[in-house]
């Protein structure tokens, strides 16, 4: 195990999620330590997205418990979990299409900026929400399209926008679902840099097919297959583990 195993920020204990007779997530145990970069890999249909849904609260578990920061959050809704520090990027970029890019970031950072108190005056709105949102857009390379309606952004831009939105919420745990999918080479490069630069007070749970990104970033890699946890360990162990090769080989067929 890694050096991070001592203080878990997130613990999933034997979580289960069923869709009819299909067990999408089957008694999976997962620990993400404070500051850890934890990657979740596995073939399509392994249950990675479902597991992130369970942790973020978008779907409820059919069994097991989830703890975050020492507190049982199994019964909390997604909004509540977001407010206590779980941020999320979705597999298909989920932005608000009728809002402009900067408005998307503003709405995403709303609670971080003090909610309705943060917008009581125009000056406060600008200082607490609008300016930080612009800074974040700049960081992900979207400053030029800040006033463009999100519906008119390209797939890659929407992906970057959602990253800015997730960061605006200042999460303690960032759930990333295939952030590199559909990005151009330049965009992937920028994404890798952005993730590498994240401060260590943000823990990351990353689902990604690009194994170069995974191995460059992760402290721990967990492999899922058919809803079950195959193995978990440091990148070097995982790279050569026969169980992992089998899982992927089977999926490719």
């Amino acid at each position: 195990m890694t050096a991070f195993a001592t203080t878990p920020l997130l613990t999933a204990e034997a979580v289960v999620r069923r869709y009819g007779s299909l067990v999408a997530v089957d008694r999976v145990d997962l620990r993400v330590a404070d500051g850890e970069r934890h990657a979740l890999i596995g073939p399509n249909g392994a249950g990675k997205t479902t597991l992130l849904d369970l942790i973020g609260g978008a779907t409820r578990v059919d069994g097991g418990r989830i703890r975050f920061d020492g507190r049982d959050i199994t019964r909390l809704g997604p909004a509540r979990r977001a407010r206590i520090g779980i941020g999320r990027i979705h597999q298909r970029p989920a932005v608000w299409p009728s809002l402009t890019a900067v408005e998307n970031v503003v709405v995403a950072g709303w609670h971080q900026a003090g909610g309705f108190r943060g917008v009581r005056t125009r000056a406060r709105y600008r200082r607490r929400l609008r300016e930080p949102a612009m800074a974040l857009l700049d960081r992900v390379g979207l400053a030029g399209v800040a006033s463009t309606t999100a519906a008119h952004l390209s797939h890659g831009e929407r992906r970057q926008l959602e990253i800015a939105m997730a960061l605006a919420g200042r999460p303690r745990l960032l759930l990333l679902d295939e952030p590199a999918a559909g990005l151009s080479g330049v965009e992937v490069h920028r994404l890798a840099e952005l993730l590498a630069e994240l401060p260590r007070d943000v823990s990351v749970l990353l689902v990604e097919h690009r194994l170069d990104l995974v191995y460059a970033l992760a402290d721990t890699v967990t492999v899922l297959h058919d809803g079950r946890l195959v193995t978990s360990g440091e990148p070097d162990e995982i790279r050569n583990a026969p169980a992992v090769r089998r899982a992927y080989a089977e999926a490719v067929r």
Partner: protein, 356 residues
């Protein structure tokens, strides 16, 4: 057409309409003036329907509920307490908001067609109650002989249809201006985000249900104010003012006008009432047919309503000139559903072919 040009056009159109509305009572007879006053009143109810249907994503057939509550409360106040307009408007707002507050738990957890059915039931129950509760509402005979209104303390009662029309116009204008200003604040962003993608909005920590509840109560207050204006405009009220046909006409008008647009809601409602009241005079018995035809025509020609017309035109021009079509999702126009409502976030992409 650039967004700036479009905004300018909308503004110019708005100012033009307002000037026509002000000049109107000097160019038509008293009866027509009173018809216009009632059209304005229904237009304001239409605005509250648009707020819920287009902006909050809660399609409603039940705004006749708070509308009726505001009307009866204002009528009782006018007859027994005060003939001052400010008092009556505030009474109507409070009654409408209270009505919405009592019914809000039935509505905010439902979505889509279910909301339509629940609000339909609420509206129907309200009419039935108004017809039965004779001691308060006068039953199906209604309440007649409501004294004329004096807008503020010390002013003379408004004796003419023209004066009552202008009073209605002022109140409707103030309410709409207040609403537009509120929706332009960052709070309006939250509502639009919730409509665009509810699950995503929750994932950013927002209490979407709470926002919807507040909007529902606010829309109730607006409908309640319209109720008080109904009392001013026709000095008579009966359950027939709140029947299913009224709810259906309102929703139709709002959809025709472009559900998420306040100006569109008024224009759409006025159009629908014009078809009902005037064209049906020319072709008696054909009003439902004409309305149905109008609806199909709008849905076919402008899926985003009259208010979406200029956007559609702009998109057409853009796609012709640059070979690029945009979805045209400008804020504040057209009906937009809630695509991800009820689905777990991230579940949909499994079949979207984006995974490798």
């Amino acid at each position: 057409m650039t967004p700036a040009a479009r905004r300018w056009l909308v503004r110019a159109g708005g100012v033009g309409l307002l000037l026509v509305a002000i000049a109107l009572p000097w160019s038509v007879d008293a009866y027509t003036t009173s018809l216009f006053a009632r059209t304005l009143v229904l237009g304001l109810v239409g605005v509250s329907v648009a707020l819920l249907t287009g902006l909050a994503g809660l399609p409603t057939l039940g705004q006749t509920g708070p509308y009726a509550a505001g009307a009866y409360a204002s009528a009782l106040v006018a007859m027994h307490v005060s003939s001052v307009g400010v008092v009556q408007v505030l009474t109507g707002a409070a009654a409408g908001a209270l009505f919405a507050l009592l019914t809000v738990p039935l509505v905010v957890y439902a979505r889509g067609v279910v909301v339509l059915m629940i609000t339909l039931a609420i509206g129907e129950l309200t009419v039935t109650a108004a017809g039965r509760w004779t001691s308060v509402t006068g039953g199906t005979d209604g309440l007649a002989g409501i004294p004329a209104i004096q807008p503020v303390w010390g002013m003379a009662p408004l004796a003419s249809d023209r004066a009552r029309y202008l009073y209605t116009l002022v109140v409707v204008g103030v309410v709409i201006a207040a609403m537009v200003m509120l929706l332009r604040t960052p709070a309006g962003l939250l509502l639009r985000a919730s409509r665009d993608d509810e699950a995503r909005t929750r994932a950013s920590g927002h209490r979407v249900t709470g926002y919807l509840a507040v909007t529902f109560v606010g829309a109730g207050a607006v409908a309640g104010i319209a109720g008080s204006l109904l009392i001013t405009a026709q000095q008579y009220v009966s359950p027939a003012d709140f029947g299913f046909d009224v709810s259906a006409l309102l929703l139709l008008g709002v959809v025709i006008g472009g559900a998420a647009s306040i100006g569109g809601a008024i224009v759409g409602t006025a159009l629908v009432i014009a078809v009902r009241d005037w064209l049906s005079g020319l072709l008696p018995g054909y009003a439902p047919l004409l309305l149905g035809g109008l609806f199909v025509l709008t849905a076919y020609l402008f899926p985003r309503g009259v208010a979406g017309f200029s956007t559609e035109l702009a998109n057409l021009v853009r796609s012709r000139s640059r070979g690029r079509t945009g979805p045209g999702d400008r804020p504040g126009t057209g009906i937009q559903g809630r695509p991800s409502r009820g689905e777990p976030v991230g579940a949909a992409p499994v079949s979207s072919g984006e995974t490798r």
